[in-house]
């Protein structure tokens, strides 16, 4: 997961690795070789000294002269690394001995039957067993103990040097990484900061001020030209949206004027039509009038929707709130739709309290119920529709549930946007209903959400705050009275 590690850390790690790894390797090889050499030198020199002393001791042993043997051993006194030495005769009996300062614990006589010298490193000392031979005749053996303190000292010095070297290398690496960071990371971070600022303040006029001509400079230049392009596109988009909203506003207003007069004229025709004698003709005429009226109403609805959207877009969406009963509105809307409900044979099930009073805009609230119910009828596939109202102290909720085609989870957020529908084919309309509904609910300070599974229907849940506390208190007062 190296992507989550900062460049600074990577630089430090790489520099340390790059410097330490070869140093370690070389030091390890050199150190191991040197220590091995020192060790082997010490073993060799101990063996050499032992053989010289054994030479001196040979005559002393051959002619049974202890003082001469002790003289021979005194040679060792010159160097403190010789801890002790003992000359044994062929029977393993002590013949002469030397020890540096404190008498060492007498070591048992070594195996004396060898004619070859043995040198071994045991713990903190080197042990040499050197047979004493002269003219092919063996007279005894010399046991010599040499301290390995010089070797240990050498190793310690070496380790300390190593430690200091590593500390030095780490300091050097950090300095190097710091310098590299100044060169690279800091400039990248400044670039990232500019990007963050732009996202935060939505100000695309900011530019990165890195003028370098290296890779980071190129990145900054590309970044700046991308920002310029972004600003240009943003401006274009804004202009397009403005034009569209203006068109919507003008178009809907312009459409309303002839529509109103058309509606009045149709109504006038229905009211003032002369009676027709032939019942078949009369029936045909009545059906034509009905159709014309329905189409005019539908047209009016569409134009109103466009007008609403245009108002929403320019932010002119005033509410005229008063104390209203949501349950009453629900009953009214079902009444409006009774003909359509009767025609389609859909069952509408109600789960509502007697009253659900809040401070809302009654016309807008009616629009919400109309939109949700007409959606449920449209997409409900003829299955029963449930409408429920629940009431809390602070809020009222309205749930409209159908058992129709449902909405794919990917589309659930999209359906509340302008001109968006989950399914575009086989169903008419501009795709504005849910957008307007959401805007009305938001204007009341409420929320709207959808729960749906494709093929199992959808439930739209509107939660509205009940508005002024005075209203709630008035309601309570009325209840108690």
């Amino acid at each position: 997961m190296t992507r989550h590690v900062s460049i600074r850390t990577k630089l430090i790690a790489l520099t340390l690795l790059g410097v330490l790894a070869p140093i370690w390797f070389v030091l390890f090889l050199v150190g191991a070789k040197e220590i091995r050499d020192i060790r082997s030198d010490m073993l060799t020199s101990s063996g050499l000294i032992a053989s010289v002393v054994a030479d001196y001791g040979a005559a002393a042993l051959a002619f049974d002269s202890r003082p001469a043997a002790e003289d021979a051993l005194q040679v060792l006194a010159e160097n403190p690394r010789f801890l002790d030495a003992t000359i044994y005769d062929n029977d393993g009996k002590l013949f002469a001995s030397y020890h540096q300062d404190v008498p060492a614990a007498r070591s048992p006589p070594p195996e004396l039957h060898d004619t070859l010298s043995r040198t071994s490193l045991e713990g903190d000392r080197i042990t040499v067993v050197q047979p004493i031979v002269q003219g092919g005749e063996r007279y005894g053996a010399l046991l010599l103990h040499t301290s390995v303190a010089p070797l240990v000292l050498r190793i310690h010095t070496y380790l300390w040097d190593l430690l200091w070297l590593i500390v030095g290398v780490i300091v050097a690496s950090l300095t190097l990484a710091w310098a590299l960071e100044r060169l690279v990371t800091r400039r990248l971070l400044r670039l990232a900061e500019v990007a963050r600022d732009i996202a935060k303040h939505e100000d695309s006029t900011v530019r990165a001020d890195d003028r370098g001509s290296d890779e980071i400079g190129l990145l900054a230049a590309a970044f700046n030209s991308m920002l310029a392009e972004l600003a240009h596109r943003q401006e274009e988009t804004r202009e397009a949206v403005r034009l569209r909203d203006e068109f919507l506003s003008v178009a809907s207003t312009e459409l309303r004027t002839p529509l109103t007069s058309l509606k009045l004229r149709v109504q006038g025709l229905i009211d003032q039509a002369p009676p027709v004698a032939n019942p078949a003709d009369a029936e045909r005429l009545r059906k034509s009038f009905e159709l014309a009226e329905r189409q005019v109403r539908r047209l009016e609805k569409l134009v109103n929707s466009l007008l609403d959207v245009a108002r929403i877009a320019v932010g002119r969406f005033p509410l005229q709130s008063e104390e209203v009963d949501l349950v009453g509105i629900v009953h009214g809307v079902i009444g409006q739709f009774s003909a359509e409900i009767g025609r389609s044979g859909v069952e509408v099930l109600l789960d509502v309290p007697v009253h659900a009073v809040g401070c809302w805009d009654p016309l807008r609230l009616e629009q919400v119920v109309v939109n949700l119910l007409s959606n449920a009828l449209k997409y409900g596939a003829g299955k029963p529709i449930e409408i429920a109202v629940h009431l809390d102290d602070d809020q009222a909720s309205l749930i409209v549930r159908d058992h129709g085609i449902g909405i794919d989870s990917a589309d659930q957020a999209r359906i509340f946007e302008r001109f968006e529908r989950a399914v575009s084919l086989n169903y008419g309309g501009l795709g504005l209903g849910l957008h307007i509904t959401r805007e009305i609910v938001h204007a009341h300070g409420g929320t709207i959400s959808v729960e749906s599974e494709p093929g199992k229907g959808a439930a739209f849940i509107v939660v509205l705050p009940r508005g002024l506390r005075a209203v709630a208190e008035a309601g309570q007062a009325w209840t108690h009275a």
Binding site: D55, A59, A60, G135
Partner: protein, 195 residues
């Protein structure tokens, strides 16, 4: 230091091999008697040991298989021990040939010449004849070293066998002596420089 002398004696006896071992069984038990009885075997052992510290030139031998010639001039109690040495031991990896010679005999074939006390009248003449040759002269008589015998065996006050070396004799023979041997010896006639 009686014990030390005893140790030397015992080691010397051990060196003499099977015959010496048989001889050791017959030894008296007291240390002093032990030392007295062992004087000659120890001296014989010393003579054998001297050869380890002395180098003879290859030209001193007639061939690679030629024996080491050990000559004795005069009568000495050591003769029997030297005889055993000649029978059981090898010197310089060679067989040992023991020759008992008259003082006026030809000494040129000898490698080591033991001059017994009773050869004192012929000493000068013998030494003159071995001069410049690779022949080690050994004796165990007072004053012989002073006269020029290379190695003279003696007993110290504690009854231990010691030896003196004549630097004059060392210069006159065509041999190399190990420095350690010189270091151990009492040098004669000058003051003592070793023990």
């Amino acid at each position: 230091m009686d014990g030390a002398a005893g140790i030397v004696a015992m080691r010397a006896a051990a060196r003499l091999g099977v015959a010496a071992a048989a001889f050791a069984v017959a030894l008296p038990a007291t240390p002093h008697a032990f030392a007295d009885e062992l004087e000659y075997p120890v001296k014989a052992e010393f003579i054998e040991r001297f050869t380890h510290f002395i180098e003879w030139p290859a030209s001193a031998f007639e061939g690679p298989d030629a024996p080491f010639v050990l000559c004795v001039v005069g009568e000495t109690p050591m003769a029997q021990y030297l005889q055993r040495l000649a029978e059981h031991r090898r010197i310089k990896s060679r067989q040992v040939e023991l020759r008992a010679l008259k003082p006026n005999a030809d000494l040129s074939a000898c490698h080591l010449l033991f001059i017994a006390a009773d050869a004192r009248p012929y000493l000068k003449q013998i030494l003159a004849r071995v001069e410049g040759r690779p022949i080690v002269t050994v004796a165990d008589s007072e004053g012989f070293a002073r006269a020029g015998v290379l190695i003279n065996l003696l007993l110290d006050p504690e009854g231990r066998v010691r030896f003196e070396i004549s630097p004059h004799g060392a210069r006159r023979c065509a041999l190399t002596l190990n420095a350690q041997l010189l270091k151990l010896a009492r040098l004669s006639p000058s003051t003592e420089s070793g023990r």
